[in-house]
Assembly symmetry: C2
Homo-oligomer: 170 residues x 2
DNA sequence: CCAAGGTGCTTCGAATTCGAAGCACTAGAG
DNA sequence: CTCTAGTGCTTCGAATTCGAAGCACCTTGG
């Protein structure tokens, strides 16, 4: 009785799962539209700019560190960082202490862009996600999701997946 | 320090939002991998098969009704339904009472495929999402997400944007 | 100093997504 | 019956995503 014939999810579990996927999907979709319309940014681009402009004290981060904050693959990050650079919202330069590393830095234009879309972004989240919830429910949501988040981060088949050894992997 | 100039989200709201997006993203990613490996299915394909094989009493649904259950665009649905048909997991035929409508029907092979991937699917959800949560927390999660879900469904800039859906909707 | 392996990022091809536009059929008014 | 609007689905092009493979650099051991 490992898991092959394991009891399916019960009603509550199933509903929680579906609701989670659906709510997040709809929310993300709405946010993406807002960002595209008001700032010509994809969601990932916004995340990157926000990370650099709002979280990072220096406005510079290495690609790898950005990948840790944004859930995507390395290659996807390269792609989006390239777009941001082409748009003049960030610059890329080799790090001084490590020639391999690329230091991504937000520009003034990038900061302006963030400032421009942030109010709309906040409005969407409030309208779609927060509006129908009480203050207590929002807190509850956060407190319930937090353990799951931690758990997933610690056992993640995500982008930070270790590179397999040359040929004889683990 | 995320000041937007208006009334930014406070810490709790922000955390709830980010946790939601991240947890759903990671979970979905993990599920997609499992479905791909064990059943050579995309997430949408699985959703469609599940809807037809597990939810629908007849095993047949119109494209539009499938679109209501799966959060994607009409064109994306066409694409995925085409793949499922090519794989022999569903059939497509014009509806008898409306020549425009396409009736998608799950095949035996489709049901087998569902049965094959379902245990693994359940296992992933339990391992990643449910494991770190208590029974009460799962219930809480569901009950908190439900209002948001309803709210989003009723005011969605979704795929049904330009052209309205069936009829009386809101 | 040199060799071997590890790390950081990019390139490449394939898959999936979306919205807009278009085609086919139905329903309602005259 | 005919015309016009509406509905159901597909086609099309563009954008984004991922993983695998590859290049360049760093680190460690001899």
């Amino acid at each position: 009785m490992t898991d092959a014939g394991q009891s399916p999810l019960d009603r509550v579990e199933l509903d929680a799962y579906f609701a989670l996927i659906e709510v997040a999907g709809l929310l993300r979709h709405a946010v993406e539209q807002q960002l595209r319309e008001q700032g010509d940014l994809s969601y990932v681009q916004f995340q990157l700019l926000a990370l650099l402009g709002l979280d990072s004290p220096t406005g510079s981060e290495r690609m790898t560190d950005l990948a840790d904050g944004v859930v995507y693959s390395r290659s996807g990050l390269t792609y989006q960082a390239g777009l941001l650079e082409k748009a003049g919202l960030v610059t890329r330069a080799a790090a001084a202490d490590d020639e391999r590393a690329v230091l991504v830095t937000i520009t003034d234009a990038g900061r302006e862009r963030i400032a421009r879309v942030l109010p709309g972004h906040v409005a969407v989240i409030k309208d779609l996600l927060l509006k129908p919830l009480s203050r207590a429910q929002v807190e509850t949501l956060r407190s319930v999701l937090e353990p799951a988040r931690e758990h997933m981060r610690s056992a993640p088949p995500r982008s930070a997946r270790r590179r397999r050894r040359k040929e004889g992997d683990d």
